[in-house]
């Protein structure tokens, strides 16, 4: 049986959803961003158990095709205007149906996780682990090559005081 992977046809839905969940800002350079976002999204999706992958895909299709059930006319979610899309997302997030709320929570978690794992977003929020990592690796080398290891033990400080 062929393994179910993340279908390209769903990319516009996630693109629209990401725009609603985390609207882009001027200081975020978007060049090449979407391609990397979908690459990572696909990697996470492909690791999920088969039953979740099937459920997820059909859930997304339902989410995309049936704004009509929530009073948004015969448009697909990915074709809605930004304002309507936002209202539609609110209806899923805060609606009465627990199944919809839970599904949306999963959907939101996946988008947010992948979005905020993008190095370009890290730059915007001020997270720069690469340099920190290099510094710490150097620091460890220095300590191991003869420096003294000072253990932080507050009880000692108290005793000394």
């Amino acid at each position: 049986m062929k393994r179910l992977t993340f279908p390209k046809s769903l990319e516009p839905v996630f693109s629209a959803l990401a725009k609603v969940l985390v609207p882009a800002q001027d200081d975020l350079i978007l060049e090449g961003f979407e391609a990397h976002f979908f690459f990572n999204f696909g990697r996470i999706f492909n690791e999920l158990p088969p039953i979740f992958r099937w459920g997820f895909i059909w859930g997304i299709r339902f989410f995309d095709w049936f704004p009509v059930l929530f009073g948004f006319g015969l448009n697909r979610f990915s074709h809605l205007s930004f304002e309507s899309a936002k209202k539609y997302v609110d209806a899923w997030a805060n609606g009465r149906l627990g199944v919809c709320r839970e599904f949306f929570k999963t959907l939101k978690a996946m988008v947010i996780l992948v979005y905020f794992s993008e190095p370009k977003v890290w730059e915007v929020i001020g997270y720069a682990p690469e340099n920190h990592l290099k510094e710490r690796i150097e620091m460890r080398k220095k300590i191991l090559s003869g420096g003294e290891e000072k253990v932080h033990w507050p009880h000692e400080e108290e005793t000394n005081a």
Partner: protein, 508 residues
């Protein structure tokens, strides 16, 4: 010797003394201790073998895909659903944990003695096993150089309120606080089994098979005779070869979800009816505190302190940095301003969690095609405890100078002063409104002397199947209220000693 699915061209058919399934806290210890006693041991791991050098990048998604089961997308169904994380790589969850080391609390051991007849598990009798583990994985306090602001802020708040804190003991050798513990330590400072027990196991002549999923335990006349499994391609997930291992002793160490699932899949039933039941999870509530001062939680060690003032009530608290992708999940909101909010607070916030010693129970259920579902229902006592833990953590943040605290409740997201902490009690909250997560899954094959009450005997062997042992957190008869890594390792050391003392019984 390491065999990976990438190298395999034909089916594997091997014979050995001991086969160990799972290379985490329990499996790695068992494999090393038994291999060093001259037994031929094969260690099987479903995930891949990733070296410290391979962690020298900061790609969160890469780590989730390579090191976590289902890329971290595992959850317990219930009200509320609870996300949980477990490792799926050589070293198991020890490769991706914060490295906190606690000996089993005396009160827990006493409870196990009374309720489950585990009279050999006294603090005194467990001492040599804990000591051995502590030496091998270098358990000690954190270094001064690695201290970071978020831990100091937590301590500042706790000190102001007169709450007791504990400078954490961690398994490290010159950890300098790269703070990438949960995505694999890139400096080699953390000393999980990946860099301690596994190399010693390989040196002792052990054989490690990676990317191998065990499907069934082979049984003959109520005796385990090995395992059957498949080698899996890590990318396509296609089956590359079949694996058959014949052994005298079989040890299952796949964690509290996968271990009972594998036993049940193999047709094993426990007379006690406890197999797969009594799942405990140490529910965690995540609470974010926002401060005016810059904090940079990612610069420094993970959880230098824990607040232990409420340990007798079943609550311990700590702060730990989590990468932005996971950090952002703590916010209930979305839309315009989300990115700006993250920009404003990311380097000014402290992310803390309160761990609860739970009494709620969950269950592991097998589905067709090797799929597993886990359920967990938070009871009223634990819900109240979760609320109290959240309130206490919020109070500590405000005492330390927080200007805003984000809470894990759907209908109470944010409070802005210490006076508003009371809202946690006055707002109408239901368990389903609570966001929980877990990283400590325990107790589905509990240990005890009575086969009508427990799944395995005090040495870790199944009451109902000879030559079949369990050595992971599923052994725990109850929730233990502290980080379980060291307890699992000490119990596995003890089991390995008992097996080697009585080896003639199994070498038939």
């Amino acid at each position: 010797m390491i065999i990976d699915s990438g190298q395999v061209t034909k089916n594997i058919d091997e014979t050995c003394d001991v086969v160990v399934v799972g290379s985490g806290a329990g499996g790695s210890v068992m494999a090393k201790e038994l291999a060093e006693r001259g037994l031929s041991v094969i260690l099987i791991e479903e995930g891949g073998y990733h070296t410290v050098e391979s962690f020298n990048n900061t790609d969160t998604i890469n780590s989730l895909v390579n090191l976590y089961r289902n890329a971290g997308g595992t959850f317990l169904a219930g009200k509320p659903n609870v996300m949980y994380a477990e490792g799926c790589c050589v070293g198991g969850s020890t490769t991706i944990n914060g490295g906190m080391c606690w000996r089993t609390p005396d009160k827990i051991l006493k409870r196990w003695q009374w309720e489950f007849g585990l009279t050999d598990l006294t603090p005194k009798k467990m001492e040599p096993f804990h000591h051995r583990v502590e030496e091998i994985i270098s358990v000690k306090p954190v270094l001064q150089e690695s201290m970071n602001n978020d831990s100091m802020i937590l301590k500042r708040g706790a000190d102001k309120l007169g709450y007791q804190t504990r400078a954490n003991l961690r398994n490290h050798n010159t950890c300098v606080g790269a703070n990438q513990c949960i995505t694999g330590c890139p400096t080699g400072g953390k000393q999980p089994p990946l860099v301690t027990y596994i190399p010693a196991f390989l040196k002792a002549g052990g054989k490690l098979i990676t990317h191998c999923r065990v499907k069934k335990i082979r049984l003959k006349n109520r005796r385990a005779t090995g395992v059957k499994g498949v080698m899996i391609d890590p990318v396509t997930k296609a089956v590359r070869a079949k694996v058959k291992i014949r052994s005298k002793i079989t040890i299952v160490c796949c964690g509290a979800v996968q271990t009972p699932a594998l036993l049940m899949r193999s047709g094993i039933r426990s007379a006690s009816g406890a197999l797969g039941n009594n799942l405990f999870i140490h529910p965690n509530t995540k609470v974010l505190g926002v401060f005016d001062e810059p904090i940079y939680g990612w610069k420094g060690v993970n959880q230098a302190y824990q607040i232990t003032e409420f340990i007798d009530e079943g609550i311990i608290m700590g702060v730990n940095f989590i990468p932005p992708g996971i950090f952002a999940l703590a916010f209930p909101f979305y839309g315009g301003g989300f990115l700006n909010t993250m920009k404003e607070i990311f380097n000014h916030s402290v992310c803390g969690a309160a761990l609860i010693e739970d009494t709620s129970r969950g269950r592991v259920i097998n589905l067709p095609f090797d799929q597993v579902v886990t359920t967990y229902q938070l009871n009223a006592r634990d819900f109240e405890l979760a609320k109290r833990a959240t309130a206490l953590l919020a109070e500590i943040y405000f005492a330390a100078g927080a200007k805003r605290v984000y809470l894990p409740f759907r209908n109470l997201h944010e409070i802005n002063s210490i006076d508003e902490v009371r809202k946690i009690y006055t707002t109408q909250l239901k368990p389903i409104d609570l966001e929980l997560m877990s990283v400590h899954i325990m107790g589905t094959c509990r240990m005890g002397i009575n086969s009508q009450q427990s799944v395995v005997n005090p040495s870790g062997e199944l009451h109902d199947v000879k030559g079949l042992f369990v050595a992971d957190a599923s052994l725990f008869p109850s929730s233990i209220g502290v980080n379980p890594q060291q307890t699992i390792m000490a119990l596995a050391t003890r089991s390995a000693f008992l097996i080697s003392e009585n080896i003639s019984r199994y070498m038939i």
